[in-house]
């Protein structure tokens, strides 16, 4: 709707001079990028200054250039890629493992009194436990192999997906539910054709947040028991005092998390354009 409106207004306004004000989203994006570059440049400048004044040990706090050099070196040997693939795969598989149980239980608790009575108390009791608290247990139960890390990520993502699904399924518009009932949509059809599409935008957000949580906790699990992965890389670098490597590991996780999030937000916009909230 609004884009149509804009299309009609555009020829009236004709060619406008370039808009550099803070109201222009494109200009804003440019300014934000500049701000980021400025920060990095300032950091590099401080490092340069430090070479003469020596007020801190540069070994403990490398410059952006040092980090970039290390990143390039790690990339060219393929080591960095190995770690990235290992960590990303773990996060995705872990979230995937959490997906089905979280969706089923979330819808169940929201839409069925029986499921609510049986599972809600347990779910609410376990919810406040920080995932890190169960990691040692998971290692005892599932060994120091892949499974304990996957379960750990799944545990962290499970609650996030469960919560979004639960809230979403509780809040399905009563009128839509009533319309479905009067149209004779019952049983499994009701869940497949009404509940699932109705919650799908929120479910997508849940998965996105679950992946973010996965990237948050992956490092901890790879600190403890791993021989590959970005968390392992950071911890290994610590043992050898390679602070630049630690920065490379941490920043890589940041970049991946950001990229995955941006990608999913873009997919979300396309997939759920039917939402009324997009109208205005």
């Amino acid at each position: 709707m609004s884009s149509e409106l804009r299309a009609e207004l555009a020829p009236l306004e004709g060619r406008r001079p370039a808009d550099f004000s803070l109201q222009n989203p494109t200009a804003m994006r440019l300014y934000k990028l500049c701000a980021l570059i400025l920060f990095v440049a300032a950091w590099q400048a401080v490092d340069l200054l430090n070479e003469f004044l020596k007020f801190y040990n540069p070994l403990l706090f490398p410059s952006p250039l040092d980090i970039a050099t290390r990143a390039a070196a790690l990339w060219s040997t393929g080591v960095l890629q190995n770690h990235i693939v290992a960590s990303v795969t773990r996060v995705f598989i872990g979230v995937l493992m959490a997906f089905l149980p979280a969706v089923l239980l979330g819808i169940g608790i929201a839409r069925s009194r029986i499921v609510e009575v049986v599972f809600e108390p347990l779910v609410e009791l376990v919810r406040p436990i920080p995932p890190l608290a169960v990691l040692p247990m998971f290692i005892l139960w599932f060994g120091i192999g892949e499974l304990s890390k996957l379960m750990f990520i799944a545990f962290a993502a499970f609650y996030i997906i469960l919560t979004t699904v639960m809230l979403s399924a509780v809040n399905i518009d009563v009128v839509l539910v009533r319309a479905a009932r009067t149209l004779g949509i019952n049983g499994f059809r009701f869940y497949r054709e009404i509940v699932f599409p109705a919650i799908s935008p929120d479910l997508f957000v849940g998965v996105r947040l679950g992946l973010s949580a996965g990237f948050v906790v992956i490092v901890a699990s790879e600190f403890i028991a791993a021989d590959v992965g970005l968390g392992y890389m950071i911890n290994y670098a610590r043992a050898f005092f390679r602070v630049s490597d630690m920065f490379v590991g941490a920043l890589t996780i940041g970049f991946i998390g950001y990229a995955v999030n941006m990608l999913l937000v873009a997919v979300e916009r396309r997939l759920f354009s039917w939402r009324i909230s997009d109208e205005r």
Binding site: R178, A179, L183, G184, I194, A198, W274
Partner: protein, 261 residues
């Protein structure tokens, strides 16, 4: 001989209502407050093919009554019989048109109507779907999403969806309440056209005296707190009716006179 048989048959048909409300009570329990009685012993019949309007001020429980007939809520006492069966839940024999349109926002207009048609047994009859899209004037907009439609178009799509489900009784809960007067009148006329073509039984809830007088064959007046049946006004003005004609104004006057008492 055959004539008297015919007469007997018509009598019988008239005797068996399509929808019967039998001493329906509705009491809502409220936390830390005395329960509130919304409906008190409501009894009336809707004959087959009749267009009946439930008219009353807000708080008279007319929407509650409609929801009970739809099977969406259970009455505290009394019963509703649709056809020959007592209403225990929603059913395909009773289609509902809501004031809030209730279109599924993730489906296009056509997909919404298909969903209505699919509830029946067997495969979706594509020709039937297109037919109802055409009679409601939504065929050209069939591939639009609900958010792209105006209120009037949304309600026409919702009516098409209900019709595609082929109910015997159509329950309409202030369907045109949120529309501007022009759209409202256009949809009223369209509804009358659809009704005369299909002769479905319609129970129509409204708080507009004008609307009730224009549309209904029978107007049931309710009073509020608690919702009680106040009067039944028969509107025998023949179709096509003319808005603001002497006859209809007469009906409106009759309704308002009862309302004031």
């Amino acid at each position: 001989m055959s004539q008297s048989l015919d007469q007997a048959r018509t009598l019988l048909l008239e005797k068996a209502p399509k929808l019967r409300f039998d001493r329906v009570d509705m009491v809502f329990a409220r936390p830390k407050q005395p329960p509130v009685q919304v409906l008190k012993s409501i009894s009336f019949d809707v004959a087959e093919g009749e267009f009946l309007c439930l008219l009353g001020p807000s708080g008279c429980g007319k929407s509650t009554l409609l929801n009970i007939a739809a099977g969406l809520i259970k009455p505290s006492a009394g019963s509703v019989t649709a056809g020959s069966r007592v209403v225990t839940g929603p059913g395909r024999d009773r289609g509902v048109v809501f004031q809030e349109y209730a279109l599924f926002p993730w489906l296009t207009v056509r997909e919404n109507v298909v969903l209505g048609a699919k509830s029946g047994r067997g495969k979706v009859d594509s020709a039937k779907v297109d037919h109802f899209l055409k009679v409601t004037g939504m065929y050209d907009h069939r591939n639009k999403l609900p958010k792209e439609l105006s209120g009037g178009m949304k309600q026409r799509a919702a009516i098409a969806r209900t019709l595609a489900n082929d109910p015997e009784i159509i329950l309409m809960d202030e369907p045109f309440g949120a529309l501007d007067p022009y759209t409202r009148e256009a949809l009223q006329d369209q509804l009358i056209e659809l009704w005369s073509a299909s002769r479905k039984t319609i129970l129509f809830v409204t708080h507009s005296v004008e609307e009730a007088a224009y549309l209904a064959g029978v107007v049931i007046l309710l009073k509020a707190h608690p919702g009680e049946l106040k009067a039944v006004v028969r509107n025998e003005v023949s179709w096509p009716r003319e808005r603001a004609s002497e006859e209809l104004i007469g009906i409106e006057r009759a309704i308002r006179r009862v309302e004031r008492t």
